[in-house]
């Protein structure tokens, strides 16, 4: 544990401290990455529901690949895109466990599309956290299926041309058309109000699983300031001004 030099004076009570489900390991995300906020929200949700002892996370391939180091709960590192398939296996083998997968857009919406669609269609009783930052972050900023039209990445230096590379994949809208899922929502974390809303959605997605309601997916529109080549604060602005135009926020499917 890193030693804090500042001592809290007498007469103060904690308002916000690090969630118990997180370990002491530093996050390996870039400065200002929304992954950090989302990882923390998942840990806060696990703390609030008191399910740390029976939670199993599925780590993706991508920026969140080291999740097992950050959380104080069991983890499985799935092959690229196969997190939903691994989660299905664990949940079916031991239904008492709370199983969640945490995936990026390259993992869930590109190589893992089939696994995700079929897990959703079967209505598997799992929770999926889908971080949509419209780019392949870890590998250096290549175009993802969710990359916005005209958006510059290292593989689309002139901007994404929809005539050759297609249109951004709206995964949540697609999954909301199926009969299987019970809860599909899209959130963002660019300001405090939306962070709170995203947290509520994550808690609801975990509660659905505890109550046996079936497949829940929380998509979170995030920024990747490093690969957008902007400052973290400008990254937040980019989410509001660009990404939300293509990925509007809100609940897409709620089945009670």
């Amino acid at each position: 544990m890193s030693v804090t030099e500042v001592k809290v004076p007498a007469g103060y009570v904690p308002v916000y401290t690090k969630p118990k489900s997180l370990s002491e390991a530093r996050f390996t995300y870039c400065p200002g990455c929304h992954h950090g906020i989302i990882t923390r929200l998942v840990a806060e949700a696990i703390d609030e529901l008191g399910i740390q002892e029976r939670t199993v996370g599925i780590a993706p391939v991508g920026c969140a690949v080291f999740l097992s180091d950050f959380f104080r709960c069991d983890f499985v590192q799935a092959a690229h895109g196969r997190a939903c398939a691994v989660a299905t296996g664990i949940k079916r083998a031991n239904p008492d466990l709370i199983v969640f997968s945490y995936q990026g857009d390259g993992d869930l919406a590109a190589i893992g599309t089939a696994e995700t669609v079929h897990a959703a269609n079967r209505g598997e009783n799992i929770t999926v956290i889908f971080v949509n930052n419209q780019i392949y972050g870890m590998t250096g900023g290549e175009m993802a299926p969710t990359t916005l039209p005209g958006m510059r990445t290292v593989t689309t230096p002139e901007g994404r041309d929809v005539r050759t590379t297609g249109y951004p994949l709206r995964m949540s809208e697609m999954l909301a058309q199926l009969d299987g899922p019970s809860y599909i929502t899209r959130q963002a974390v660019f300001d405090v109000r939306h962070v709170q809303m995203a947290k509520k959605a994550i808690i609801k997605a975990f509660k659905n699983q505890i109550e046996g309601k079936g497949f829940s997916l929380v998509e979170i529109v995030a920024a990747c300031p490093t690969n957008l080549r902007v400052s973290p604060v400008e990254g937040n602005k980019w989410v509001v001004e660009q990404a939300l135009k293509y990925f509007p926020l809100g609940d897409l499917k709620v089945r009670d």
Binding site: D191, V192, V233
Partner: protein, 75 residues
């Protein structure tokens, strides 16, 4: 005594500045102090203005901020 008190874990902080943008009272700023990983970390520049609203901690992507609030007298 200010209403709030912020503790920044300088080893976790990566100096992204999201807390500085989130603080409604200008309590925080990115300082010239470097941590062992080479990041210029956030610091408290106006502790007397802090109300303990924890908006900085809500936005921190590195869980580097802890927030404390003064116990109200007579409660």
């Amino acid at each position: 005594m200010p209403k709030g008190f912020v503790v920044i874990d300088k080893e976790r902080c990566k100096g992204c500045g999201l807390c500085v943008a989130a603080c409604p009272f200008g309590v925080l700023a990115i300082t010239s102090e470097l941590n062992p990983y080479g990041y210029a970390v956030a610091g408290v520049i106006a502790p007397e203005k802090c109300t303990g609203c924890a908006m900085c901690a809500q936005m921190c992507p590195d869980v580097a901020i802890e927030v404390y609030r003064a116990v109200k007298e007579g409660v």
